[in-house]
Every structure is written in structure tokens, then in C-alpha cells.
Amino acid sequence: MSWFSVSRFGAVLYKEFIQMRRDRMTFAMMIGIPILQLVMFGYIINSDPHHLPTLIEMADESPVARAVLSGMETSDYFKFEGIVTSAEEGDQALRDGTANFVVVIPPNFERDIVRGLSPKLLVSADASDPTAVGTAVGALSGIIDTAVKQTFQGPLAPVAGQPPPFSVVVHKQFNPASKTSLNIVPGLIAVILAMTMVLITAIAIVRETERGTMETLIATPVRPLEVMLGKILPYVVIGYIQTVVFLIAGKLLFGVPFLGSGLAFFIGFNLYIVVNLALGFLISTLVRTQMQAMQASFMTILPTILLSGFMFPYAGMPGWAQVIGSAIPATHFLRIVRKVMLKGAHLADITGDLRAIAIIGVVIMLISMLRYRQTLD
């Protein structure tokens, strides 16, 4: 006896396709809902984050420079993570997401201030998540102004009094216009895919139990893997359609670019879909009715929206929330999508995220294979 029969797998797959095609309502919703969500979220969401990871490139160690930095840190918006020594290092950190800001203090900063040369303090910001960066950048000039006033007291007070002793240049990378929609659209891909993929697989399987067809199905020699794959694959196709719809609508409605590697996106995307479908399959093994399947699916969707970094910047979340967030596939896929679409990332930039999704996926699949009942008990 073979452990996997292509014939049986094919039969389940084919059957699922037919059923999906005949269920026009669900089919229409699976395509329609993403567009609706895209429009709604794209125009609405905003937030006010804190403690954003920041790196410093210090070419001047003067008291003024340090005052500026401590002013930034005490403001709550920024959290200094370390020192970089070159511009490339800073750019890389922004690209892979280790930092949201890189502050560059130019050489002879204090001396130039005293000489009235109005030196430029450069702040590079990862604006691919504009809600995270926007407010912080907005607060920046106030913070620095205060810091300077505190430093230049006594004999140097006149320096501080003069109009702008130095200027702050904010260099917004990846999303120069700070359009929230630019960030929301890629994030939405992750959330909507999770929502529909988990829900429809869970329902498709529980439907068999509810309608009684499960009894005939498991009375046949069909194996769990054949059922699982046969049921999951048709919805992979739905996931493809949704994503294409998204990318096109995102481009047309919000002008969201796609700067990075298509291959990196494709790999991450497939992996993500499979993990979500497996999660749906797992839910279906835990519940008895379609109603329960729906509720359980929504249970998984809440953390996906709240803790994945979709609604609130991941870096700004409390530690415990980050721990939970890191176990959610959307958290990692979200990073992949933002990096690839907005920051032009390539495969090498997303390997860590891919690995995380893969690990989550393997765990989910193992549990669901163990849970799948081959009897009616």
C-alpha cells in the first residue's frame, strides 16, 4: 500500500475545485472583500508610535552633539540602538528593518555652530511605515532646539539666540511622501490573505463534517495528507488571485510601487499562503460546525491585525506583545512585503523572515496532521 495516492489526491483536488466554482457567492466575496478592505484601510488608518529603533553615525563627539542625542532619546519617540560607522551600514540597517532612523552628526558640528556656519544634521528615516516615522520626524526640530538652548548657556548664549544655529535635514527613504497608504497596502495583503485563507479552508473542511459527507470520505481509504493537500491547493489559487487584485488595485488607487525582487516576493508569498491554509486546516480539526470555524478563524485574525505590526509599529509594542507577534505568520510576511515592495529588498534581505514563517508552518502542520481524525470519534 502506498502512503500517498496521486489518484485520490487528484480526486479531492478536483472535487474541491468543482465545489468552489459552484459556490458563486463565496467566490465573489473572496475577490470582493479584499478590494473593499483595501479602500477602507488605505484611507483611514493612522497611529502615534514611540521608542523607534535609531542608530547614530557620530562624526562629532562634542557636548552639543550629545545634548541633541539625549534630547531625542528623552522625547520617547526614539530609542538609540547603537553606533554605525559608515553610511552603507546605516542604509543596510534601514533596509533590513533593524532601525527606523539613522542620525548623522557631521564632523565639526559644534565648531561650525559657534562659527555660525549652520551645519546640517542629517536624519535618515525609513518612511515605508509613515505612521511610525511621521510623528517622530515632526517632533524632531522642537527636540533639537531645546537641546541646543540648554547647551549654549552662559558666554555662548548669544549663539543659541540667533536664528537657526544649524539645520536638520530629514531624508525620508522608501516612501518620501509619507503616504500611509503606501504602507497600508502591503500590510493589507498580509492581513487579508490570512483572513480569507484561514477562514475558507476551515469552513471547507468543517462543511464536510456538518453535511455528513465526512463519513463517506473517511470510510474510503483516503489518507489525511491527500485530503489536506487536495483541499488546500484550490485555495492557494484564490490567494494568487487576491494578491494580483491587490497589487493592481494598490498601484492604481494609491500608486504603491513594487521596487524589489519579484522572486523574493513570490517565495515569501507562497510560503505564507501555505502556512495560513494549514492553520485553517488545523482549526477545522478542532471545531464541529461552520459557525465555530468562523469564530475560531476570527480569533486568529485579531492578533494578526493588532500584533503583527500592521496596525501599530512592531518596534513600538511592549515586549510581551512582540513575543506573541513573532509567532504570527503575518508579522514576518508583512516585513517581507514592505521590504520587497517599498524598500527594493532581494531574497538575501528576507531570509530571516522566510525562516520564521517556515518554522511556524511546520509546527502548525505537524499539529494538524496529528489532530486530523480518521474516525468519527
Binding site: A11, K15, G212, M214, A219
Partner: protein, 326 residues
């Protein structure tokens, strides 16, 4: 490759199904209570009992769809605890409730089932099934839109396409019209002649009499089983037949008498039965004294009376009032 039953069952005399002490507990209640059963190879084995007596549950355990909470057994020589897959490959199970896909067409359903069992020459087999069913022209109709009786017939055909050595049929003819039922039983007998074993649960008396063997189950307990011809003796039912005037009146009087367990009308005769032989004889003595015009005749109960008797206990066994608890 699918394993044929011949691989493991060489001895022709070994029963197709043997179970010992088979038990299933739901919510603390033994809905199947230490059932022993042996279904000989090639036999048509009738499984009867009131609603909720545990027939479906027993059948499900026999085809490894349910894990027994107690007892052991072999189906086609395969252990029901360990060899679920081999059992599933070689058994055709027709569920009581229609459980094919309502949103697939008739042909798609047959094709799906054929693929599940990896039937060779699938297209030909499916065509053949459609033809035997007399549904060639309706292959494209959605199964869900079939009438109740046709659904049954489709389900039955679907579970036989892979030519299983054993058929487990759970009320296969419920709601099927008399002509189709006759055809169905003709086919069952045909299959049985070819060596296929058929276990069939039914509530129809006229079907029970067609079986070679009978098991009667109530409250999850198997009360009677054996060759059909021995069943009347096992039940120990005494029957009097009476013909003559005013049978309607007599029937009412007899029904009211506690010593009479069953009064059934067969044409111009009443068949009056009871397991209380002495009590019944006394009743007959009284009644025959009242009216000489009636003719009374004592006969050993026939299968039909016995089945009517057995099935008359058809209150839901584990229903509202509950059976004897486990």
C-alpha cells in the same frame, strides 16, 4: 496496491466479520453493549432493531470508522483496531444518511468515489454504474437535487463500484419504492451468490425475511441472532390464526388483553401472538367459546410474525425515557 482479502483470509470458512464484546460508550451510556456477532462469508446478514438501538454505531465500528471502547473484532480478517486502512480498501459502506456531495453531479460523485478506491477503467465503470442505475441521461444532474429514493440508490451504487468483498449497508432501502427495492434485493442475492458478504440493517419486515441470518439488537444489546429459519424458535413466539366474522371487533378485544402481545392482520386472518404460550392459549379458549363461527388454528410462528413482533418494540431505545442505563 490494494490488498485483496484473499491475502489474509485464506480459509473460506472463516467469517467475514467476527466481533466479541464490542462496546461503544457515549456520555457514559453503553449504546453498544458487549455485542458478539459472526457474519459468515457470502451470507446476507440482516441487522434489525428499533431506532436508537445501536445498529449504525455497531456497523461503524465494524468498518473502522469508530474506535470501540471495548471488545475486539476482525473484518475480512483484518483487526478493527489496527488495520483500518485495509478494511476501508475492501469494504463498501453505505451510510444511513445520504453522504455524497449534493453540489457535485451524479457522475462527478460516482467518479470521485471510483477514484478514492482507485478503480481500474474508471470511466467504463462509472458509465456502467450509471447505466445499471438507469441514470445515463441524468449524469449531469446535481446529486442534491435527486429525490430521496434516488439518492439512496445512487449512494448504494457508489459504494459498490470497487467490487468490495463485504458490503455494509445501513438502511439502504429507506424511502425507496417497492419496485426499486425488489431490484435491489435481486442484486444483493446475485452478489451473495458470487461470494460477496452483505450486512444490511433494515426496518422492513419483508426485507428481513430475505436474509440468511438475522441479528436483533435493542438497547445496544444483541438479543437474538442466528440463521433466519431458527429465529422463530429462539424468540419462542406462539401464534394462533383466526378467521371468521367480526374480526375488527375481535382484534380490538385481543389488543386490550395483556396476555396478547401482538395482533396482526394477514388478509382475512388475524395472527395472534405472544411469548406467553399458556396465557395465549387461555385467551383463545375464552374467545373461541364466545363465537363458534370463527375458526382458530395454532401454528408455530413464522418469520414474518416474529419480525413484526421484534420490530413492534420500535420505541426509540435511548430516547427521552432512556433505556436501561449501562
Amino acid at each position: 496496491m490494494s490488498t485483496t482479502p484473499a491475502d489474509s483470509v485464506s480459509d473460506r470458512s472463516e467469517p467475514a466479520i467476527v466481533v466479541k464484546g464490542l462496546t461503544k460508550i457515549y456520555n457514559g451510556k453503553k449504546v453498544v453493549n458487549e455485542v458478539d456477532m459472526s457474519v459468515p462469508k457470502g451470507a446476507i446478514y440482516g441487522f434489525i432493531g428499533p431506532n436508537g438501538s445501536g445498529k449504525t454505531t455497531t456497523i461503524r465500528m465494524m468498518c473502522a470508522l469508530l474506535t470501540p471502547d471495548g471488545g475486539e473484532g476482525h473484518t475480512l480478517g483484518y483487526d478493527i483496531h489496527k488495520d483500518a486502512r485495509a478494511i476501508k480498501e475492501n469494504v463498501g459502506y453505505m451510510t444511513q444518511k445520504f453522504s455524497l456531495y449534493g453540489d457535485l453531479t451524479i457522475r462527478e460523485n460516482l467518479d470521485f468515489m471510483a477514484r478514492m478506491y482507485r478503480v481500474k477503467n474508471r470511466k467504463k465503470v462509472v458509465d456502467e454504474t450509471l447505466r445499471t442505475l438507469g441514470l445515463e441521461g441524468r449524469g449531469k444532474q446535481l446529486a442534491g437535487t435527486l429525490s430521496g429514493g434516488w439518492k439512496q440508490r445512487l449512494a448504494l451504487a457508489a459504494c459498490m463500484q470497487h467490487k468490495p468483498a463485504l458490503l455494509l449497508l445501513d438502511e439502504p432501502t429507506a424511502g425507496v419504492d417497492p419496485k426499486a427495492r425488489r431490484d435491489f434485493w435481486d442484486e444483493i442475492r446475485q452478489l451473495s451468490k458470487q461470494g460477496v458478504t452483505v450486512l444490511v440493517s433494515t426496518h422492513y419486515m419483508d426485507e428481513a425475511v430475505q436474509c440468511d441470518y438475522i441479528a436483533y439488537i435493542a438497547y445496544g444489546k444483541k438479543l437474538i441472532d442466528g440463521p433466519a429459519t431458527e429465529i422463530p424458535h429462539q424468540v419462542g413466539l406462539t401464534t394462533w390464526r383466526v378467521s371468521g366474522p367480526d374480526l375488527v371487533q375481535l382484534e380490538e378485544e385481543l389488543r386490550a388483553d395483556p396476555r396478547v402481545e401482538q395482533v396482526a392482520r394477514f388478509g382475512a386472518q388475524l395472527h395472534v401472538s405472544s411469548t406467553d404460550s399458556a396465557g395465549l392459549d387461555a385467551v383463545v379458549a375464552e374467545k373461541s367459546g364466545e363465537n363458534d363461527a370463527r375458526k382458530w388454528e395454532k401454528k408455530e410462528a413464522e418469520l414474518e410474525e416474529v419480525f413484526i413482533y421484534l420490530m413492534a418494540t420500535a420505541a426509540d431505545n435511548f430516547g427521552v425515557n432512556g433505556g436501561p442505563s449501562a
